[in-house]
Symmetry: C2
Subunit: 324 residues, 2 copies
């Protein structure tokens, strides 16, 4: 088995590349749940759904989240009522949240429910929520956020949930700190530690280091288990030429005192990852990565097409199986 520590879109694309070069049954994804939220009474797991929908070939290609062939009737009604509609709940997507919420109410755990959902989509790879306990990534604003068209003003120092930052405020406000609420008491889902310990190697997907990867590593026991296998860990930089391909990873790194570069990410990952993959655009930084004590792999990492994602997957395989 090959284990991947995964956030949302970037991880989903990498996994969609890997299934082209590895039998899907040999892949397991441990997925961030720090972005999860309860909205309108529904339990929503954005990263789990993005991975599932992408691997099912059902992701909305225009948005990178949600389902293809989506309709928005429920949302139109919510708008008519003046309700909370900043989190885009399509009608088909709602079916997933309704199912998850009902099953949780029946006493099923998130591992079981995630497996059931993946099975309904005929997925062969294993998708594991990092924890069944409620984790919530919280973000503290570094500056006053003025009133928006549909958001109230918030003073600097206010702590809001990740989705309020990311979706409602379009990650447009600087951040002074990130806290993963509930993580001290959280347990890794059954199978997570085993997956890390027993896998052939571990991939850290090109996801946001602070709000996608860290909420997985911060679960007690996970970082230690990954670190113990450092020589069998390969991380892919989500930063290319100083910028995030998607989302606020570059700004967040800077705001939190890190460097928004492959070197900055490598510094965060060096303790637990023996190999670091950077894009060809960053080839000049390879000596700095090596100087941090990581093996550096330079290869195209921008997954604009499924074929490019498969090539990145093959490069990872080659690096970890000694063919590089």
């Amino acid at each position: 088995m090959i284990t991947t520590i995964a956030g949302g879109v970037g991880a989903a694309r990498l996994l969609a590349g890997l299934v082209q070069v590895v039998p899907p049954r040999e892949l397991e994804a441990i997925v961030n749940v720090g972005d999860d939220l309860v909205l309108h009474g529904l339990s929503i797991s954005p990263d789990l759904d993005t991975v599932t929908y992408t691997l099912a070939g059902a992701i909305n290609p225009e948005t990178g989240w949600g389902l293809v062939d989506e309709s928005w009737q429920a949302r139109s009604m919510l708008d008519m009522y003046g309700g909370v509609s900043w989190f885009g709940l399509g009608d088909r997507d709602l079916g997933t949240h309704l199912y998850r919420t009902q099953r949780l109410a029946e006493g099923a755990d998130l591992v079981t429910i995630t497996r059931e959902i993946a099975s309904a989509w005929n997925l062969e790879l294993s998708i594991l929520p990092a924890s069944c306990d409620p984790l919530r990534t919280m973000v503290t604003l570094a500056e006053d956020d003025p009133e928006g068209t549909d958001t109230p003003p918030l003073p600097a120092g206010t702590e809001i949930s990740f989705q309020e930052y990311f979706v409602q405020r379009h990650h447009g406000v600087p951040v002074s700190s990130v806290r993963i609420a509930g993580v001290a008491d959280a347990r890794p889902s059954p199978g997570v530690i085993e997956s890390i310990c027993d896998s052939e190697f571990i991939i850290v997907a090109p996801s946001n280091p602070i709000v996608s990867i860290e909420p997985v590593l911060a679960i007690p026991g996970v970082r230690e288990a990954v670190s113990a296998r450092r020589s069998q860990v390969i991380a892919i930089s989500p930063i290319v030429a100083g910028a995030a391909l998607k989302g606020p990873a570059d700004r967040m790194l800077t705001e939190l005192g890190h460097e928004a570069s492959v070197v900055g990410v490598a510094r965060l990952y060096r303790e637990f990852s023996g190999t670091f993959v950077i894009d060809v655009a960053d080839a000049a930084h390879a000596p700095e990565i090596e100087a941090l004590g990581m093996r550096c792999v330079v290869t195209p990492t921008v997954m604009k097409t499924p074929a490019l994602a498969a090539e990145l997957g093959q490069s990872i395989l080659d690096a970890m199986r000694g063919n590089s």
Copy 2:
């Protein structure tokens, strides 16, 4: 003000008739909440929604419940997952439940939320949930219910919720008793007692006496308030020629030891209703009604069209304003 004690479809049709002959601002409906349920984490109030959607002219004319121009994308996904889908949640209808659930989570009460929803539909009549406290009409099965295509078998004596009886099992199994769970501790919504005490007169809609009207009357203080105004109470029989126009009222009456006839309903209502309206098909029973101490009004009560509903509304007005 004219106050109507209301269940779902029959009450909604009567109210839609009344607004044609009375200024809507002079109408208040006190609506049953015993059918309410939480499903998939969503707070659903079927009778409130049926009244609201009907008065808004947005009810699905084919089903008598739910919204017109409805789509079923969320339900299709639930079916794909093998989830609970017996309760028909259309995509537009889901918007209402999402809004209600979110507002409840924010701390708003059901009276406020119901008013907000009615306002969004531009309704002028007042729609009041009978209680903001959780009432649940529970039904005990008189016989074994064999396994259905999507329902597990249940032995006689099992108590299930009203919606499990009505929707999931298509009210096809005999009932030995009905219990309104939570009613002893429930309080009438703010305004309910005032509405009953201060109104010009009180209409008891042609709804199921046992599972629509009784859960309103059983809330502490309501039956007493209605009874105190007995001479100003007019009830319309939901039974015509021994049968319910919709739903299981006739069978339920028989199963619970009452008579499935206008006389059987009159016996249940005589203590608190001075006037009883029966259909022309039941004219022969008028002397029996009068013998029970109720004034009997004989008029067409079957609201096949909006015009017929308006005529019934006018007959009620005439009866209570002395023009009959």
